[in-house]
């Protein structure tokens, strides 16, 4: 059953790739050539693969976090805001503690702060849903905007870095190099964050499939009445799942700063390269919320994103085209996720 579903999803991803590659025609590139170079840029060499793994890291963490409340059909669209708050909390903590503590403790404390920050940011919408029935899709989304502007404010205010002041480009002070996550491959700057990401995927695969907590989330997602009958305290479980989800989104933010960027910079709404909170949603859904499958889906989409940047540089294909491609793939893969294509086909043949 799951097996068939998996084939179906992969099939539609391929169709999505093919259909979306038609957009290369606008730039007088043959669709198949364009597609080939996109895939080549994302996965074609060891450098490309390592770069793709770098993009995979925050995406994987984010999507794993999202899969937790999604299992209970509680739609956390606020991953981006939770990620930003995680970045802020981790950076502030890291910068504050760096002079006094050895790197492992700085990193641990920053990660803890990121988790707490992200979790806290996820609480208001969750409580509003539980107490007043406010639609979480709207409220979690709105919290993203608050986070974006809070970050803007902090970067021209309390957290403004000394360098940034001189060049009038908002940014924080950098995290000292010694406090960054250790690099696994220094040439491309792939950090140990990928190990954290894989470990989280494994942990949550276990939690969602083999614990009472995961079981209860699943029952809540399938039927609120059944959850009541099963004696599940649905409100509490949802609050917990959102704290976990927000916290993990926060960790994604921490890993981004401590693994890659080193500084905190403003977020732009249009920039898909930093919008892990949004991209993470289809990544989790394509994988049917299975954390092990999310490893594959996040790697694949990271490769497409990464390939897109290289295409932009090599062939002057605007990144917007790749975003279109990305959107088309999402659209088709969702048919695979949601639809029972085989049933539909059988009906159609009849």
């Amino acid at each position: 059953m799951n097996y068939i579903k998996g084939i179906q999803i992969v099939f539609f991803i391929i169709i999505g790739l093919l259909v979306s590659s038609l957009s290369f025609l606008m730039f007088h590139i043959s669709p198949l050539n364009g597609l080939a170079s996109l895939i080549d840029s994302g996965f074609g060499s060891s450098i490309a693969l390592l770069e793709t793994l770098k993009v995979t890291t925050p995406l994987l963490i984010m999507a794993v976090g999202l899969s937790v409340p999604f299992t209970a059909k509680f739609w956390n669209i606020g991953g981006q805001g939770q990620l930003i708050i995680g970045e802020i909390a981790a950076t502030a903590t890291g910068l504050a503690l760096s002079p006094y503590l050895p790197p492992p403790l700085v990193i641990t404390a920053s990660m803890g702060a990121a988790f707490v920050g992200g979790a806290a940011w996820a609480m208001p919408p969750t409580i509003m849903k539980i107490k007043f029935g406010a639609n979480e899709i709207i409220t979690t989304l709105m919290m993203n905007f608050v986070a974006v502007y809070l970050l803007d404010y902090l970067l021209i205010g309390p957290m403004e870095g000394s360098q940034a002041k001189l060049v009038h480009a908002p940014a924080s002070n950098p995290i000292p190099a010694s406090d960054m996550l250790p690099k696994l491959v220094s040439t491309v700057g792939l950090s140990a964050g990928i190990i954290i990401a894989l470990a989280l995927a494994g942990l949550f695969y276990f939690i969602l499939n083999y614990t009472n907590f995961g079981y209860e989330l699943r029952v809540i997602g399938e039927s609120r009445n059944a959850a009541k009958y099963a004696g599940i305290k649905a409100d509490r479980r949802i609050l917990e799942s959102m704290a976990i989800s927000g916290g993990i989104a926060g960790i994604a933010g921490m890993v981004l700063v401590f693994g890659t960027t080193q500084i905190l910079i403003p977020q732009f709404f249009s920039d898909i390269s930093t919008a892990y909170g949004y991209v993470g949603i289809p990544v989790a859904l394509i994988a049917s919320l299975n954390p092990l499958a999310i490893i594959a889906s996040s790697f694949f989409l990271a490769g497409i994103l990464n390939g897109a940047y290289i295409m932009e540089a090599l062939y002057s294909v605007p990144i917007d085209v790749v975003i279109t491609i990305y959107g088309t793939i999402m659209l088709f893969s969702m048919i695979g996720v949601i639809g029972d294509v085989f049933k539909a086909l059988r009906r159609w043949i009849k």
């Binding site: 083999y210 614990t211 009472n212 907590f213 079981y215 699943r218 029952v219 399938e222 039927s223 009445n225 059944a226 009541k228 009958y229 099963a230 004696g231």
Partner: protein
């Protein structure tokens, strides 16, 4: 006098049930015709056929002497037939006049709102259907909303108005006002069909009565020609019930006891109003009643799915009134819910995942919050084997099984832990004969082995054949206790609210 509507030999089948079996039904202008019957007798189905919502499998409909095919409510309305459903279809943030306007398609026909208001005034004033056309629907009471629904039908010029259990959500005063309106409609020459299962309504307003039982017409008469007793007898039937199929065992010690229980319903109304009873080991106690008299709230409160406002629930002397379901299950209480696919099992989860719904808290099914899949599968296999659940294996989705097999699984699961107190709600509703038999046998064996069963059912035959004692619930109260040999007629009367 010629009837305005004549339905002849209407048969309507649904998978597994014949909802209407060659039913004849007539509506005369200037008459209120009560359509009476227990839940599931086929009343609503018959009227939905007339209103064009269902196509009959057989039978003919004549309006004004001409044979017609009614394919949709629009066609029914064109023929002068209107229906007010149990659940209203009004837009809360539109005014009364705007809601009426939608039904008239005024954007197409260029009707202005002032004209609509005039039409509302026109149809409602003589009938005493008072409602402010400028009020927003969300501001209105249930009774007022119902009036809006009636007005919606009247402005479309209906000659016959069907009302499906119109008083079920009304206060007694509102019901009285509604009856006055219906009487005036009748005097104005319209025909009214009143779907109901309340005896006093029939006696109060009806001119003609048709009683349906299991999809067939069992009685059709003018009210003046028939006694209340005869009506009850027609509704509940008069087959002789031989009593419990197995030996009755002696009640044992230990009991599920409910004292002065008060529970609120979904809309905040008092649904259970001071109920007390005791179920002892070794007996099946039935709760008979027409649906919607507090059964659901009573059961949910006992099992902990709904809060008790006041009162006390004990199992073997242990107070569980405010305990979690976990503690109730641990105390030996189990529930077979009415809603099989939405509550009892989760259709998309496998049987073994469903098996541990109430077991997952305890060793060996979980240790420190970690589930044991192999133990869950063992449990599912055990239930499947001992209760004869027909399924390829324990890994298939629960929703892929037939209703009967799901119910066998649910019943088996509720006993797997060794529960001693079992609440069963309509446990055989919708099942075929074999599955019904199997479920009933299981309940009786459970009782014979010392278990206590609280059987809440709308199927009077089931209650009479299984129960050792029986209470009738009416408007949130246990109005009467019955002991064998059961007096079917008296039970029926108590269910309809008679003899109080």
């Amino acid at each position: 006098m010629e009837p305005y509507i004549r339905m002849v030999g209407i048969t309507k089948k649904f998978p597994g049930v014949v909802a209407n079996d060659s039913v004849n039904f007539e509506v005369y202008k200037g008459e209120i015709h009560a359509l009476l019957g227990e839940n599931g007798a086929g009343k609503t189905t018959l009227m939905r056929v007339l209103y064009g919502l269902y196509r009959p499998d057989a039978g003919k409909i004549y309006v004004n002497g001409n044979e017609v095919k009614i394919g949709s409510p629009t066609e029914a309305l064109r023929l002068g037939i209107g229906m007010v459903h149990q659940h209203f279809s009004l837009i809360p943030y539109f005014t009364v006049a705007e809601n009426v306007a939608i039904g008239l398609g005024s954007w197409r026909n260029g009707l202005e709102i002032e004209k609509i208001k005039a039409m509302i005034k026109d149809v409602s004033e003589d009938l005493g259907l008072y409602v402010n056309p400028d009020a927003y629907v969300h501001q209105l009471s249930v009774g007022e909303r119902q009036r809006v629904e009636i007005i919606k039908m009247l402005v479309r010029g209906v000659n016959v108005l069907i009302l499906d259990e119109p008083t079920s959500a009304l206060t007694p005063q509102e019901s009285q006002q509604l009856f006055n309106v219906l009487k005036r409609m009748k005097d104005g020459g319209r025909g009214v069909v009143l779907i109901t299962h309340k005896m006093y309504e029939v006696m109060e307003v009806a001119d003609r009565v048709t009683v349906l039982r299991r999809g067939r017409v069992v009685l059709n008469a003018l009210k003046g020609e028939i006694s209340e007793k005869a009506l009850v007898e027609a509704m509940v039937g008069k087959e002789v019930i031989l009593g419990s199929p197995e030996k009755r065992s002696v009640p044992q010690k230990g009991a599920l006891s409910v004292e002065g229980l008060v529970v609120k319903g979904d809309r905040g109304e008092v649904a259970v109003n001071g109920i007390s009873f005791v179920v002892r080991g070794g007996e099946i106690v039935g709760i008979a009643g027409v649906a919607g008299n507090g059964q659901r709230e009573l059961v949910e409160a006992i099992f902990g799915m709904r809060k008790a406002v006041s009162g006390k629930i004990t199992v073997d002397g242990v107070d569980i009134t405010n305990k979690d379901i976990r503690d109730r299950v641990s105390a030996g209480l189990e529930l077979i819910p009415e809603d099989r696919l939405g509550t009892a099992v989760i259709p998309k989860l496998s049987l073994f995942q469903n098996a541990i719904l109430h077991e997952r808290w305890w060793d060996p099914y979980s240790k420190m919050g970690v589930l044991s899949i192999s133990k869950a599968r063992d449990l599912a296999k055990r239930i499947i084997n001992s209760f004869g659940v027909a399924t390829p294996n324990e890994q298939v989705q629960a929703g892929s099984l037939s209703g009967g097999n799901i119910q066998k699984f649910v019943v088996g699961r509720s006993m797997a832990r060794g529960a001693r107190y079992l609440i069963a709600v309509n446990p055989t509703a919708g099942l075929d004969v074999a599955a019904t038999d199997s479920v009933r046998k299981t309940l009786v064996e459970f009782r014979n082995s010392g278990g206590a069963v609280l059987l809440v059912s709308e199927d009077l035959d089931e209650l009479l054949s299984l129960s050792d004692r029986l209470y009738v619930i009416y408007r949130g109260k246990l109005v009467k206790e019955f002991l064998p040999q059961f007096d079917r007629l008296a039970i029926g009367e108590a269910m309809m609210g008679g003899q109080q």
